[in-house]
């Protein structure tokens, strides 16, 4: 019989941070500012208590509550300066993140029991922070959890 433990959002963020730490030269996690490049921020950004339900439950009596979490991964590659180098750096960093996401081909994704499904989207772009502009990429990792 398959059983699922309950996934906590902080555990999910921590395990994703751990995977992204594999990108060499990265500073991963919530920092006070962008002191080093590349800086990767990982945080929970969207939450839903019972996926596809208009109440707080997915079964009678609240037996099952499917949680939907979106974890954001913001990659600040380098401040805007030389366009070709900026885009190249942002692109390379996005490839590194994508490689880690695509490595999650076995269930449960990120090795966390209770993660049912995993879907991600990402985009390259210029992102403002503290009065400066940075080339980088932003990913949204969407999870359906027990």
């Amino acid at each position: 019989m398959t059983t699922h433990s309950t996934v906590q959002l902080d555990a999910l963020v921590t395990v994703i941070e751990g995977k992204l730490d594999d990108i060499s030269g990265s500073v991963v996690g919530m920092k006070e500012g962008i002191a080093d490049h590349r800086t990767i921020m990982v945080y929970g950004s969207e939450f839903e208590g019972a996926q596809n339900s208009r109440t707080d439950r997915n079964t009678f009596g609240g037996g099952l509550r499917l949680r939907r979490y979106v974890v954001s991964v913001d990659v600040y590659s380098r401040p805007s300066s030389q366009l070709d180098e900026d885009i190249t750096a942002a692109q390379q960093d996005s490839y590194s993140v994508i490689a880690i996401l695509e490595a999650q081909s076995t269930s449960p994704a990120f090795g966390l029991s209770g993660v049912h499904t995993f879907h991600w989207t990402g985009k390259l772009g210029v992102f403002p922070y503290a009065g400066a502009e940075y080339w980088g990429s932003k990913f949204a990792l969407e999870f359906l959890c027990h």
Binding site: M1, S53, R57, F60, G61, G62, L64, L66, L144
Partner: protein, 149 residues
């Protein structure tokens, strides 16, 4: 006109179905909707001397559709129904539907039901758990009563 003060919601409905040992098993925790449809079979005819159709109630029926979560626990709806279908004993089992909950005073529909069909559609591209839809049909009388215990 009085405004109703007794409307209900369905979040705590309770559904019980016998397992193979004829023990009523609470499967509510793996179900998310139930549809019961009391239906009359109606005989119709015309006679000379009137333009109006005449009708009489002939029989009663109450098919039930339940939608649940496909899980692997033997005491939850999916395995209970699969074991019923493949278990070699197709006899009717008792189904109880408590509305809006199983507290004293709630309404209870109960009767013996046979398993008509069920469907499961695993989908690798769905960001959802696997679900199961089951159609049950009563064998003989369905009763409606008030829960006393």
């Amino acid at each position: 006109m009085a405004t109703t003060q007794t409307e209900i919601v369905a979040t705590n409905c309770v559904i019980k179905l016998d397992n193979a040992a004829a023990v009523p098993t609470d499967i509510s925790g793996s179900l998310n909707s139930v549809t019961f449809a009391p239906t009359h079979g109606v005989a119709e005819w015309y006679t000379f001397s009137t333009q109006w159709k005449q009708r009489r109630i002939v029989h009663k029926d109450m098919p039930v559709t339940i939608n649940g979560i496909y899980s692997t626990n033997a005491a939850e709806v999916a395995q209970l129904v699969e074991n019923w279908f493949f278990g070699g004993n197709d006899s009717a089992r008792t189904l109880y539907i408590f509305v809006p909950d199983s507290e004293v005073g709630a309404y209870v529909l109960s009767g013996e039901f046979v398993l008509g069909d069920y469907s499961v559609t695993p989908d690798a591209e769905a960001d959802d758990v696997v679900r199961i839809e089951i159609n049950l049909m009563p064998d003989n009388v369905v009763t409606r009563s008030t829960n006393a215990t």
